[in-house]
Subunit: 221 residues, 8 copies
């Protein structure tokens, strides 16, 4: 079976192709990595569980820089990072894997980020202590599970766009992240936008587009 | 048709009977008011829409003190109010009817309340300006629709119990109040409890029980 | 009853206060308009149904520029518009009220917009005919109901951020806009972000923040 | 325990009986295979996980042609295939197991199919490159997870009926396939019909009925 | 405001454009009818409530053949009908408006249909009395609300494809048509496909595609 | 920790206590069995997975008659069975565990039952062949998953009450049994009643009450 | 349009046909009443709103005995009533219309019933005062909205089968009756069965079947 | 990575910080315990599964008092307990882990509690036997799964506030605890408040606030 990779996406949307590994078999992943290497293409792999990474053959693993916290891997090495224009703000310790997926995606595309963690609104002073750091950024990615109150509080405090990433952290009515997602969409603070639950990658892609760094010279379809 | 009113409830739970008018006909309501008057009982009517109040016959309307904002009516006159131990905190103008239903229920039971409105978290300074007033109370009733972020922020700022009343104010994913309810239940701030959507009456009943004023001398079943 | 308006919001987030009229009474709206006029503040009113506008007293109506299609009104007159950096793309005729709410909100804040309508994906050539106009913009607001396939198709064609506004246009499984919202969030095209159903106002606010025009000189809390 | 197989179904509806293996025990499956073999009947088994296939006794496994990607098995050997009148179009790599279940079901019933994969709408050119191949078919089976935008785009491009098969590929709001299913049903492109999530077998059965090859000489009940 | 009608759809998909009137204003509908008349195009209008039809100006109403039961209107007159190859089977009296929308859509496109009503499965003999009439057709459209058991029973009795149209007839758990829709999708009878709730128009379009009469000579995009 | 068993239930409702084992630990189960044995009480255990049965200590297992298909166990031996007045009708092979739980519960209470399996409505003749056997019973328990069309078809064919037991057999929209449950509740056939998903035990208890055999001589509370 | 009434239902299931009026037009209802009168058949009409009854022509209204509380009408006069074997127990005043629909349906079929109202569990003594009356019946129909706790409490107190009828009385999470329905299905008291929300008619039909009075001499299909 | 613990919470809200262990790794937990020990702080850990406790390194485990039933652990030893003012009432054996989490949280904060188990309403006499013990308490925590009828029955019997803790005990419609949660919120007994599903910790925190023992001398932010 051969794959029709969307190598043209970078020229069209300014974002290189990434591979969502979740539902793919080890064989499929190995084929994709081999195809990218054959083209000399850089590649970002997301949602690559440690067990799935370990199940790859040695050839596939070679050259992949794997980060277990965010479950991402990079083929083709690092690039130089521009100064941080994006703040990635996480409510709790359990939100770190998703926050870090955003940071890794930004880094893959050459953008540094400020990661500000453990600033949930139940202890508001923690957020207020770091609010000036956040205000210095051009885009804010907010990562929170449970009831997602962080999104509205942040949205009322900064002039930059706030990209809310609800996480699946929580139980009972919060299980799976729906409560946090709903809070992001229903936010009383204007200018908050949302991506899918646990989608740190998508938030980073949106941030890249907002920074204008996703725009290449030509955009032929 | 005759009704089996739970006149014994006051001695058993310390809360006098109230009448939820929503689904009852004008005839049913008139019968209930007449029965209460015959016993000389005080009565609180909730969810009595202006049109339903107007549809009552003159006998039923006489003696009812009607408040259109909260859609409540009281039979049997006012009682003296104790000093305010309860803060009723409302996020926005649209939450006032529900907040006022709580205030009226407390007043019916002899308790004054501090109503603090328009302190939604998208403009956090408004809440912070009045936080000491709120902290001076023994129970806090928080009333909010939309994403209900107020519940968690308040829960992290006060030592009193916070009773969250989600309201049906909102549209899209917030329509009907489910988003605010979920935020209350999933709150990252411990000590927040919730009642049903738009249930200002129930929040006030819970507050009365928490103040201990719902407890009569004897509680025979 | 007096209101605690968040007049400080403009200095804090760069976005002037707007009034969501839906659940407010004619009396409450008149009070708000009077307070704004007394301060000499400009004001945007959204979700002001024709019947609600007609129910305002003459003093309140005077000076309000009302647009029935988008159900918005402006107090304080128009401002000069900057060149259009935002494309507002609507799938069908029924999506126009929401698309126009976005256009009006941008105009209230001094930004022109290109409104491109009737380009639903069931007739793909309609969208392709106008894709270069859309690509010339720095931010794209996409407005669609039904199944919301427009969001993903657009997201794969442009390098600008795409703000998806699902609309409540549809019936059966699409009733209320949930189907379109879900499509926006689950989009296979990275860089698509979403706001609440029918929230043209919120999409415009996010666009203003992305353009950087929401950022004032000082941002004191 | 003995089974009442619907051996009459073929004469009544033109479709031979198939066995959905998911919730059946190894013992139950072995009994069914033995009964079919005793009658000399051909049999298609679907949703037979590799572990369940391995758990069958050797007698049951003998004569079963097992395909692990689609998790199908065939008893009774292959039949000659008619020319392909059905296109099976899959959005992504993760949709292949379901697409292949459709292809296997068609083959079991004597129909070849064209499998066209990796043509998701986020990279529209991939679909456009192969659209003429698809247009040459009399029935189109479209297989997609995530937001399922493929269904509407295809429905607007071909004159053949489009059978949408939503897949459970996705996470967050797309988890379990509901987002893709809703998109299929709410499609703005007329003539799109849907089957249950991951139901490649059902889509193939519907295609057989549309081709008229499901119709036997006599159809007595 | 001018509209971008998809006049090319007929050549591309074989189905002429139809107008879903539900969320459109009287002014918008009049503009669309005028544009069609100016082109000399035939037009089908669906979900045109009697009140909306009455609200059209006289020019718009002239030439429209309006059917109040199905809430459809036709501009441009009738065409000759081919012999009936489609059975439209309705479970109850309350399902007739949706069934009739399917019949009208087929007639607009030159196809006669057999309407078979009041054959719900709670009285199975009613369906069995007419099953041979149904079996004589090449496509079956089944229309049912409540629990939608008709879809599975029919699917097991005929060799033609069964297009299930769930209707919003029902109350309690059946309210809005979700119960019937779920029954269609979860049907134990293979070969049943579904369209959106109350979508008689969409079922007819799918039937036209299945009959092959939707396929024109050229299909340029 | 000691348990407050409801040994009085038999005299009050005519049904002996049963133990739902699902969420209980091996230690808790052993304590319950020991307490029953000490009282000389008969006991029915339901939802006792094979692994949980195996995890019980030998003392607890001794004297328990375990049936792995239905996952039930009986302490205290069998009783003589009355003639069968209850038909237990199962749509498919995968519904047998739930059907058998009903049969075991009836037997524990002294009632025989006729188990009629594999009579799903997609092959209607299978049901019609056995309908007279079913009609000879005073109560019918119908067990079905997927879309649950069996409930309505049966309800229209017999004069006995039909107790619908939806099962969690199914996938996609039928996953977890909600589709079958909704079909039971929305049934167009009057006289169908429903119990919870997979609740064969509850259906049997209801049948016992309907037969009047649950009624003891005295019913003191 | 002519109707295919299921006049054979009485001989098959022992229950005469009833007409659910909700979604039918005045014309359709008049036709049905005329057809019944022509056959000399008795007929029960349910969910006939006062406005719909008033909209019938005089011929249709003549001979119909209309009960506005339950919204039922009877054609063909009353029959003699057997002694009451059924208790209809209603939690609150707002549940009376549904309770009364059950009573009317039983009376139409010759069975008297004991209506016991206002015995909600928040005032448990009310229920306990009347429990012996309820225990004297062979079938119990329990009618409750809100959280439906009455179903479980009753189920633990009586040996007769309890048919739970959840009502749509309630607001917030209880809106539409889902909370009460779920309580009925999840009841910890074995032997509780449920019908659809507000389905007093269906509960009465089930009670008739349980009493055995639904069983005629011959049951030919 | 270092953590920003909210050590100030105790002075602000009167509740010491607790750690929800569910989604945290063994490494993260060890870091948190070490940080607390370094400060000499007492710490409560909740949702610490036996496997997760066993996975901690020996240093982390030392000094942790672990309770497997409630899955809680305490660092820093026990404190003297005040007389019991809180009743923790559990419906069934399966609800004990959640009930015990509440008891452990109260004890961590110096409050004893009365645990009253196995008093589900299907056997009402069990509850009535112990009602005076419950009435002697100032706060009642009610813990129940399934349909949660206990909440309403208790709410009607006591004058103390009732904090409902729905548990995820149940199957079918009760799976995950939603049925019990809805019953708590829709309760017909005023004064019942709810926390999230399985949130014994949160109920205990609310009880502490209601007792006033959560209020420290100074409450500076």
């Amino acid at each position: 079976m051969d794959f029709t990779f969307d190598w043209a996406r970078a020229t069209r949307t300014g974002l290189p192709e990434a591979v969502l590994c979740g539902a793919k078999s080890a064989g499929q992943l190995a084929d994709i990595v081999a195809a990218a290497r054959a083209r000399g293409a850089r590649l970002l792999l997301t949602r690559l569980e440690p067990a799935s990474f370990a199940a790859l053959d040695e050839t596939a693993r070679a050259g992949l820089a794997y980060d277990p916290l965010s479950r991402t891997a990079v083929l083709g090495g690092e690039v130089a990072l521009a100064e941080a224009h994006v703040a990635v703000v996480a409510a709790g310790t359990s939100d770190l894997p998703v926050a870090r997926e955003a940071v890794q995606t930004l880094a893959f595309n050459g953008q540094d980020a400020r990661l500000i963690a453990d600033v949930g609104v139940a202890g508001l002073w923690r957020l207020m202590e770091r609010i000036e750091e956040i205000r210095a950024c051009r885009v804010v990615i907010a990562v929170a599970g449970m009831e997602g109150a962080l999104f509205s509080v942040l949205g009322g405090l900064v002039s930059a766009p706030v990209i809310a990433v609800p996480t699946s952290v929580g139980y009972g009515v919060a299980e799976g992240g729906r409560a946090a997602l709903t809070s992001a969409l229903a936010s009383c603070a204007p200018g908050v936008v949302a991506v899918n639950i646990d989608n740190g990658y998508g938030a980073a892609c949106a941030a890249l587009k907002m920074l204008g760094v996703a725009a290449p010279g030509d955009r032929g379809a």
